[in-house]
Symmetry: C2
Subunit: 207 residues, 2 copies
DNA sequence: GTCGGCATACCGACCGGTCGGTGTCCAATG
DNA sequence: CATTGGACACCGACCGGTCGGTATGCCGAC
């Protein structure tokens, strides 16, 4: 606190080197995941981040904003990742398998974000909730596009609507947080590959 | 209020014929599903149910109790249903398909309960949460038993751990509430059959 | 001097839960 | 039959505490 130094504004003055907004987001994520959005007070967040409420309200308009920023970051990253995998020039089945496995792995790597998504989205203000939903929908549509591509080419069964399959699969993904434990015997990639296999095999044309 | 009558104690005296605890549970379910547990005040619940706080705390020990009772009811019913389907003397594939489809249908029929499960379980007191988890685990184990039965007989693939498949499937089921709308073009049973097909086909031995 | 980057004290709203009371029914008593 | 007592089902004002948010001030850098 009293440590004299010539820092750029925004740089940490405490023990942590990270910038204040970053630290706030980081600790807010952990606390929201652990206790839920409503049960985490602003006071707790700023204490965990080693700053004060004044600092927080300087960078974020509200507690809601904090949550929204957390979502926005995750969504941006996942969308980026999907886009990169989907547009590669591998065969369709491989692209879909990679997309499926990747989203599982990244969901497990960021279990906290995932948990928050699951539990706290409905606590956002309506307009921000709408923004998040719109972004999520874009993501799902991109994923669905892969399935429809395979249905058109005859690689995948056509008796199941693609959007039902997408919701089926992402339901599983979003729920990873409620059962996956790092202490378990399977790695994130193993789970991802299992999930991808299950999806791909469920999509095989009827034998 | 002033309507004279010879009612048994516990019978409604207002517009609604239902007993007070029942009405409380009913309206609490709706409100919890719509606004979340923490954002629903006891005051709102009792107003919706047309009683007062005194009445509520007469029948329930706490707001937590209300939530717990909602869970307990749903769990009891789903467990009962699964047990009934699983022990019938149909072929295994049919029993599993029926169990899968049924749980989807009942989840859609009671979307509110499902939503609450998803969003508010972690807000229960630790001991009640433990009780709910234990009950849920029993349910999952029963379901898993069906899959293991098929793996042992060679009907299902053995390269996917049964518990992974169970979590995969129930993730999808629990997430129905986040996308299913009654205004959609598919009935609950149609979704249930689609989901059951996807599960069964994902379990086919590799071709 | 003034502007970003905070700190601190404080406010008003609200919330879960409590508690002393009230009306009603029923069963025992006389 | 009339009276009484008390168990049950509720009522609603109130309390201690918490929370999100704000107003104001300080302080170093430019």
């Amino acid at each position: 606190m009293t440590r004299a130094s010539t820092r750029k504004p925004g740089e940490a003055t405490g023990d942590d080197q990270a910038a204040v907004p970053r630290r706030l987001l980081e600790h807010a994520t952990k606390l929201f995941a652990k206790k839920g959005f409503d049960r985490t007070s602003v006071q707790e967040i700023v204490e965990a981040a080693g700053v004060t409420k004044g600092a927080m309200y300087h960078y974020f308009g509200s507690k809601d904003d904090l949550l929204y920023e957390i979502y926005a970051r995750v969504l941006r990253e996942q969308t980026r990742q999907l886009e990169s995998v989907a547009t590669s020039d591998s065969p369709l089945r491989e692209r879909l398998a990679a997309a499926a496995s990747d989203v599982v792995v990244s969901s497990i790597d960021n279990l906290d974000d995932n948990t928050i998504f699951l539990q706290s989205m409905h606590q956002l203000s309506p307009d921000k909730q709408k923004a998040v939903r719109a972004e999520r929908r874009k993501y799902h549509e991109r994923f669905r596009g892969l399935i429809e591509e395979g249905q058109a080419s005859g690689e995948f069964r056509t008796d199941k609507p693609a959007d039902v399959v997408v919701d089926f699969f992402f339901g599983s993904v979003h729920h990873l947080g409620s059962w996956y434990r790092r202490s378990g015997s399977l790695t994130a990639r193993q789970i991802g590959d299992h999930y991808a296999d299950l999806l791909l095999d469920a999509l095989r044309p009827a034998g």
